[in-house]
């Protein structure tokens, strides 16, 4: 499928390389990664451990430095993009500050970025509403379930107007029922905010259910095996996961993962 011409490219990687120098010799975390992500895309990165999916996300976020190739975020270097606070990052663990209430946790980026008091209150209230945690504003993180904590951390990433949302296995530690629920909510959120989302996951159903594009990756060296443009409609009830189209996409992802693994052992 060709990318529509009117869609603006937000993230573009060309020949991206990243090699970590470790005690056991060099580790090729990313090797010749070429990818263009358009405005408003929901892109999932899937692959086994060590395939470089998290590393790629961290390169976009300027948390790792590539050793070769080029990458632009909103037409800038990742560092410039970070300095301009172009993206919100959701980590594997919610990582809420235990000494701050949920509300104050969401205010954290706003405090750092120097928003006015009135703006902070308004934004905090609106993102809390967006993730359905308005009743828990005054609670401390330990008083919330794991799923609620992760929702709070998503709200924290949404509080400032970043155009890009980078999510690193945000639901990896949650049970499947909670995960399904959050997947549904995340899709609704994405539709409402029209942000570009990069989403790292281990789960095939999660990747297929959420994404407009699925990037299948493989380890040693970390590289892209397949990029799948999802044929699924924008409206996705949970039942869509039993449809023929869904199963076909899932099967293609699985094949890609298997191909990447074949000369692994």
């Amino acid at each position: 499928m060709l990318k529509k011409a009117d869609v603006e490219t937000v993230i573009e990687a060309a020949g991206l390389e990243l090699t970590f120098q470790t005690a056991d010799g060099p580790v090729h975390a990313l090797s010749d990664v070429n990818l263009a992500i358009g405005q408003g895309d929901f892109v999932s990165f899937i692959g086994p451990s060590g395939c470089g999916k998290t590393t790629f996300l961290r390169v976009i976020a300027d948390l790792e430095q590539p050793t070769g190739g080029s990458i632009t975020v909103n037409g800038m270097t990742p560092e410039e993009a970070r300095l301009q606070r172009t993206y919100g990052y959701v980590f594997q663990a919610a990582g809420l500050y235990s000494w701050r209430t949920i509300e104050k946790n969401i205010r954290l980026p706003l405090e750092v970025m120097g928003y006015t008091k009135a703006e902070m209150s308004g934004r905090t209230a609106s993102v809390l509403d967006l993730v359905g945690l308005s009743d828990f504003a005054k609670k401390y993180p330990w008083q919330l379930s794991g799923g609620m904590q992760q929702r709070a951390s998503i709200a924290r990433a949404l509080a400032f107007d970043a155009e890009i949302l980078l999510m690193d296995e945000p639901f990896g530690a949650l049970d499947e029922i909670v995960r399904d629920h959050l997947n549904e909510q995340l899709l609704a959120l994405w539709k409402r905010t029209e942000k570009t989302v990069c989403f790292v996951t281990h789960s095939i159903p999660e990747a297929v259910y959420l994404s407009t594009r699925i990037v299948v990756m493989s380890p040693r060296p970390g590289r892209i095996i397949d990029v799948i443009d999802s044929p699924l409609p924008v409206e996705r009830p949970l039942e869509i996961r039993d449809s023929q189209a869904f199963l076909e996409v899932a099967s293609r992802v699985r094949q890609g993962l298997r191909a990447g693994h074949s000369y692994d052992d």
């Binding site: 990052y89 990582g95 954290l108 750092v112 970025m113």
Partner: protein, 292 residues
Amino acid sequence: MIEALHQRTLPILTVVAAIIVIWYAGTVFLNAPWERDQAERAGTELSLGQLITNTMAQERPVLPAPHQVAVEIWETTALKKVTSKRSLVYHAWITLSATLLGFAMGVVLGILLAVGIIHSRVMNLSVMPWVIASQTVPILAIAPMIIVVLYNIGVSGLIAKASISAYLSFFPVVVGMVKGLRSPDPMQLDLMRTYNASAWLVFWKLRWPSALPYLFTSLKIAIAIALVGAIIGELPTGAQGGFGARMLNGSYYGQVLIIWSALIGAAICAGLMVGLIGVIQKLVLSRMGLAR
């Protein structure tokens, strides 16, 4: 409620009772030879009951009985004006003022060093070994030298004693705060980086609150050894007041009771100060939502 109180106080009271019993036994055992000696010289026979009562009422016992110490403390606190030089409260305040000043100096120095150490690789490599080395020198050996050196540059009395306290108390603060300020995990630091937060904001919004629980633990140790430092600081100067001076006087004139009452007085002061920090710790941490 009452049951919870029982569960907490009962073990403590048991230990206190055991200590007192052992103490009394020690009193009898250690003071008995002198009584026997006296009886022999006078050519009289001592019954066991008499021997035991006598050992607990000696004027210059090897080990005074707990109630003798209690009476001595009562007489030198409640029954004396606090301005009197024979009041233990007067001496306590002299030592405590040096303790608190030294503690404050030590805490400020300790926090500043810890902040420097976590932010500067050079300081981490150069300062930390000296911080540790400073505590391997016996304080009894170095205290007189510090006092003499300070005296020669015109610093004496309160500040000199306080500097010994500071010398001891900065150490747990440095160690605790270095650990505490480094306690945020890499993810939390990455998060701040994604916000493009300045080093100051990372410190103020993340490192400092993370370090507070560690700080309070350090403060409890620091205040107790600050008191020890102040007492040691009083020994080489021949100070006129303070727990240290009291102990020194007691040993010059063989007044064991004075030594023991000063000792117990110092222990009570240390206990109260540690307890006070514990209360502040509870208040602060529960305000931060960290106490569950």
